[in-house]
């Protein structure tokens, strides 16, 4: 598979692949990196938003 890198498109067989993820109440994020001889040449991230900054509408009227 060809990977877009800082050095142009490269076959992934030539690269070291590293992956990771973060999962918390706010997001689920995965990322993938490709390294060439110790140099980062590609990094992508996929962020899934979980929690919206919703707000509560208060009841303020006094009758």
């Amino acid at each position: 598979m060809l990977i877009s890198t800082t050095k142009g498109e490269m076959n992934d067989s030539l690269l070291e692949k590293r992956e990771g993820s973060v999962d918390n109440e706010n997001e689920y994020t995965t990322w993938v990196e490709y390294w060439l001889e110790g140099e980062l040449v590609h990094r992508s991230a996929h962020v899934t938003l979980k929690q919206a900054p919703g707000f509560t509408v208060g009841e303020t009227a006094t009758l």
Binding site: E27, W31, R43, A45, V47, L49, A52, P53, E59
Partner: protein, 160 residues
């Protein structure tokens, strides 16, 4: 039967369609939905509840398919409202973009924020969504939207 003081659940959804106007609002030439956009900001920027309009200050630079202002979000589903528990007092108005947003071929230093704003209404800010800081190197960014439901939508107005 008894009466119960509450904000009406239907009103919460209608707020998102500008059905009610308690003040002076923009004159609308159409009933069509506005265009909303999503832009990304560096972790070093200051985007928060005090943000009133989109600004290029602190926004990630033009790279790959990303350009200043970000991209329009797909809006195929109108706002909705749903009763909570108890239905006599609790409800939620909610809305979520109907598709994910993403950019390809991007190189960007650490960013951690998506600003949703209304490009039809003078780029007025809507909401700020933060996530863990990410750097992108000749890569892709995808922001997946949450499920469009009362408990999880991207935008929610809630009474309890």
């Amino acid at each position: 039967m008894a009466n119960t003081q509450s904000m009406c659940t239907s009103f919460l959804g209608e707020l998102m369609t500008a059905t009610h106007n308690f003040g002076v609002a923009p004159t609308r030439g159409t009933t069509a939905a506005d265009t909303f956009k999503a832009a990304l900001y560096f972790a070093s920027a200051t985007i928060n509840a005090s943000t009133t309009v989109y600004s290029a200050t602190g926004e990630i630079g033009n790279s790959g398919s990303y350009s200043a202002g970000g991209t329009a979000v797909t809006n195929a589903n109108p706002p909705a409202s749903a009763s909570g528990t108890p239905a006599t007092t609790a409800g939620t108005g909610y809305w979520t973009p109907s598709a994910n947003v993403g950019w390809t071929g991007v190189t960007a230093a650490a960013f951690d924020t998506l600003l949703l704003y209304n490009s039809t209404q003078s780029n007025k800010a809507v909401s700020v969504h933060t996530f863990g800081s990410q750097t992108i190197t000749s890569g892709n960014i995808t922001i997946t939207m949450p499920t469009n439901a009362a408990a999880s939508a991207l935008l929610r107005l809630v009474t309890t």
